[in-house]
């Protein structure tokens, strides 16, 4: 429906572009010099006035449409004190899916009158949307048309609109961050009303599956004990640490070699090759870890009499480390290249070998940049999802043994939210609480890393 309206608006504004252009030309007796701006700008002016108010109305209408319908449809339920907000939402989403004929399973009979009410309301609102939009277009067009006949400075007006539009697009970045924080916060706060934040951050038992069983046989007290996120934090840190053990030495030495030793030709070929590692989708690494590296480690482990589970922190960590190599190597390479040559020459001039120069002069100078790049790589590792989902397992173990399965924040978010989740239970909300933890944690690391790198750049550029 909205798509139809959108194409109508588009069609209208396009035609009014030509109408406006033709009209001012006639107004100016076909002599452009009589006009304040080029005739196109009058066309754009009319088209913008035709489309923008309508689009703004349509946008806000679409946002509030459902909430308004919801208030009316659910007014009866509101009177019932036994139904809380969560249940209301559930009922409403059922009504919507029945009305859209997407409901699977038997339709609850008691909802049918409300479904009818929903459909009727929807129709009214849809019609009034049409009417409002249409009159908005007509009104703004009349206004704009009159303005055109006054031979206004159309270019300036159009440019103001363009600038406004650009500003709006730029602020989307702010809105996205707001959206992330608000949506995460909203659900997390609900979560923390049923589970204390202290238990969440310090508890060592993670078994959200049991929170689902909330009938009479299990005490509700259970809900609070099963959301201890320490094993997840540990698993995340542990796997990220394993990954860094692979990525840092390999990445660092590769970066140093590419920047200091390799010939230009060798570098031109190998650098993009290494960077391919970062371009491969993470799900591919996950598949590789789960089907090749995991079984391989188990096979090797068996030979040495070790018990390796098929989903191990080691397999996930090593593969993640491989993925992260280019993040470390490329940034190291850039950072080392930014170190001024005069430093190297000073060291060579007193007879130091290349490696001594690198170790004693270049690396210390490049250290802040390297630290920044490693921090960025760590934040990548912490936020990485698919590899751990596919290869690290689900068991929330608080273990130091890399050969056992381990689970991470991201894995748990995915497992909780995959499939049919009914919203509004602590288990689902827990995913958002984990999400906000992840968000702020990575944000923290990123801010530090970016400021270190920026300071380093400013020093040498």
């Amino acid at each position: 429906m909205n798509l139809v309206i959108l194409s109508f608006i588009l069609f209208f504004s396009l035609s009014f572009f030509f109408i406006g252009k033709a009209r001012v030309l006639r107004l100016a007796n076909y002599n452009i010099k009589n006009l304040n701006s080029l005739p196109e700008y009058y066309g754009y002016y009319l088209a913008a006035w035709c489309a923008l108010p309508a689009l703004i109305i349509l946008f806000f209408w679409s946002i509030f449409e459902l909430s308004i319908i919801k208030i009316f449809v659910l007014s009866d339920f509101k009177l019932d004190p036994t139904i809380d907000d969560n249940k209301l939402n559930l009922i409403f989403s059922q009504i919507v899916s029945i009305a859209e004929k997407k409901f699977s399973g038997t339709i609850p009979q008691n909802l049918i009158p409300y479904v009818e009410k929903f459909i009727a309301l929807n129709k009214i609102i849809e019609l009034s949307k049409f009417a409002v939009l249409f009159s908005a277009i007509i009104l703004s067009l009349i206004f704009a048309y009159r303005q055109i006949l006054k031979n206004i400075k159309a270019r300036e007006s159009v440019e103001k609109i363009i600038r406004g539009l650009m500003f709006l697009c730029a602020t989307l970045a702010i809105f996205t961050t707001f959206g992330i924080v608000l949506s995460l916060l909203f659900e997390s706060i609900k979560f923390f009303t049923s589970v204390s934040i202290f238990d969440f951050l310090t508890g060592t038992n993670w078994a959200p599956g049991r929170a689902f069983v909330r009938d009479a046989s299990v005490q509700t007290a259970n809900v609070e004990n099963v959301f201890g996120a320490i094993p997840l934090f540990w698993g995340t840190t542990f796997i990220a640490a394993i990954a860094m053990c692979v990525a840092v030495p390999v990445g660092l030495f590769s970066g140093i070699f590419l920047a200091e030793y390799s010939s230009r030709k060798f570098r031109k070929i190998t650098k993009p090759l290494i960077e391919i590692l970062a371009g491969i989708p993470t799900v591919v690494y996950g598949f590789f870890a789960a089907l090749t590296v995991g079984p391989l480690f188990r096979l090797v482990g068996e030979k040495f009499g070790l018990e390796v589970s098929s989903e191990s922190a080691l397999a996930a960590g090593v593969v993640m480390g491989i993925m992260i190599i280019p993040y470390v190597s490329s940034l190291t390479d850039d950072v080392i290249n930014a170190v001024p040559n005069s430093l190297r020459e000073g060291s060579f001039a007193i007879g130091a070998t290349k490696s001594e120069t690198i170790k004693k002069v270049v690396l210390p100078a490049a250290l802040p940049g390297i630290v920044g790049s490693i921090l960025l790589a760590i934040s990548r590792a912490i936020g990485e999802t698919m590899i751990v989902v596919m290869a690290a397992g689900l068991a929330a173990n608080l273990t130091l043994n890399p050969l056992e399965a381990s689970t991470t924040i991201t894995t748990q978010i995915v497992t909780i939210l995959i499939g049919d989740q009914s919203f509004n239970n602590p288990k689902t909300q827990a995913a958002f609480a984990l999400g906000i933890t992840l968000f702020f944690f990575t944000l923290f690391i990123n801010v530090i890393a970016l400021s270190i790198v920026k300071k380093f750049r400013e020093k040498y550029e």
Binding site: T177, E260, T385
Partner: protein, 423 residues
């Protein structure tokens, strides 16, 4: 220090030098080795999926058994039952087989074999009452045996195929009735529970729609935002906040965007779940900073003399930027956008959260039909137990990587060919 000691020390220093250099080479080689292992592993596992084994079966298209005649309408053919003539033809392979083994015989061909017979008849109506040689897809297990992915010599009870099936299969091979050919159906079929029938068409279409939505949203918004920040933004607090936000969003874990999509798009706006529309929107938010950053770099690279030249002619700021600066920044912007989109194409985690993980056995026709995307298909199939899906998963990865290579080479080409070096 004596001369001898000095030489000794020098030797030691040179040794350290060589060692250090060796570590460097070793690391580079290791990184490249990992890449090759990964690629070879995937290709060796997946190339088989592009081929399939078929059995040439002599089927008698019996008028009575089909209930059709020469003038039957297409609808009647659609409704006719081809199972029986298929079963008859299969029984010919092993005459006098006990009742019990008949099921095994039928299991040798794919579950959709009767459909294939029907399709064959549809295009060759002249075969009514005649015997024709029809190519039928073999079951996945025998397909894997043919490709050598299943060892034959393990005990029967640990195999997914019986000795009886194997015997008939070998018999048919010796009669040249087994053909091995390019597996078009992998590219044209939608997802299926049966490995031999599963194809990537549905997830290909899903990926296409998702990336399309992502492109339509992120490209114009990203460019406009970049132009604003680089050319128009006054130096004030708001601009600074926007810039910090853009840089940080580029480093936010992708799964967080999935949570945003779930919390806002699905649960607040009630947008349709599991659809490329929502997937594209989520990916667009994720791609946005990845477009803004290279676009700003490209705008920055346009020398100020171009702007001054246009301004001095009396062009307004907007005209100057739109006519003269943006076209010059286009190559850099486009290559940045393509790289951003290629990252979006390989993205999995946020899409899992907005429900693009459902089993979809039809090819989606619009962006508001539920669908999967290529990387999610990889994830879904990798969780399946059947041996045949491992091959399919790797093949899907090959297709995914194929698209990524095309996109990235195009981006590199654009950059090398059109990007101007300003002196």
């Amino acid at each position: 220090m004596s001369k001898v000691e000095k030489i000794k020390l020098l030797k030691k220093r040179y040794k350290a030098e060589r060692r250090f250099k060796f570590y460097g080479i070793l690391s580079v080689c290791l990184a490249i080795l990992f890449l090759f292992i990964l690629i070879i592993n995937i290709f060796s596992k997946g190339s088989g999926a592009f081929f399939k084994t078929e059995i040439l079966l002599n089927i008698k298209f019996d008028e009575k058994k089909l209930g059709l005649n020469i003038n039957s309408s297409d609808k009647e053919i659609q409704e006719a039952n081809f199972e029986e003539i298929l079963k008859d033809a299969l029984l010919v392979l092993a005459p006098k087989v006990p009742e019990l083994k008949q099921a095994e015989l039928i299991d040798m061909v794919s579950i959709d074999a009767a459909l294939e017979v029907k399709k064959f008849y549809f295009y060759n109506k002249g075969v009514l009452n005649k015997i024709a040689e029809v190519p039928l897809t073999l079951s996945d297990d025998l397909d894997q045996v043919y490709k050598g992915n299943f060892p034959r010599d393990i005990p029967e009870e640990r195999r997914r195929f019986s000795d009886f099936q194997l015997k008939i299969f070998d018999d048919q091979i010796s009669k040249n009735k087994i053909v091995y050919k390019f597996n078009w159906s992998f590219l044209t079929n939608a997802d299926s529970r049966e490995p031999e029938l599963a194809g990537v068409a549905s997830s290909l279409a899903g990926s296409f729609f998702t990336i399309l939505v992502c492109l339509i949203l992120s490209f114009p918004i990203g460019i406009l935002a970049a132009i604003y920040l680089e050319e128009f933004a006054p130096k004030n607090k708001i601009t600074e906040i926007i810039e910090v936000n853009v840089n940080n969003l580029a480093a936010v874990p992708s799964i967080v965007f999935g949570l945003l999509g779930l919390g806002v798009f699905l649960n607040y706006f009630y947008l349709p779940r599991s659809t490329p529309l929502v997937g594209g929107m989520v990916l667009a938010l994720m791609t946005l900073p990845r477009i803004i950053i290279p676009c700003r770099a490209a705008l920055k690279a346009v020398p100020p003399s171009i702007r001054e030249g246009a301004l001095a002619l009396g062009a307004s700021k907007v005209q100057t930027v739109m006519h003269n600066v943006v076209p010059l920044a286009m190559p850099g912007t486009l290559s940045g956008t393509i790289i951003g989109l290629s990252q979006a194409l390989g993205e999995t985690a946020p899409l899992l959260l907005i429900g693009m993980i459902a089993f979809i056995n039809v090819v989606p026709a619009t962006p508001i039909d539920p669908s999967a995307v290529l990387p999610v298909q990889v994830y879904l199939w990798s969780e399946s137990a059947e041996r045949g899906f491992v091959e399919k998963t790797s093949a899907t990865i090959i297709i995914l990587i194929f698209f990524l290579i095309i996109m990235n080479s195009f981006a590199i080409y654009l950059r090398n060919k059109f990007e101007r070096k300003w002196s």
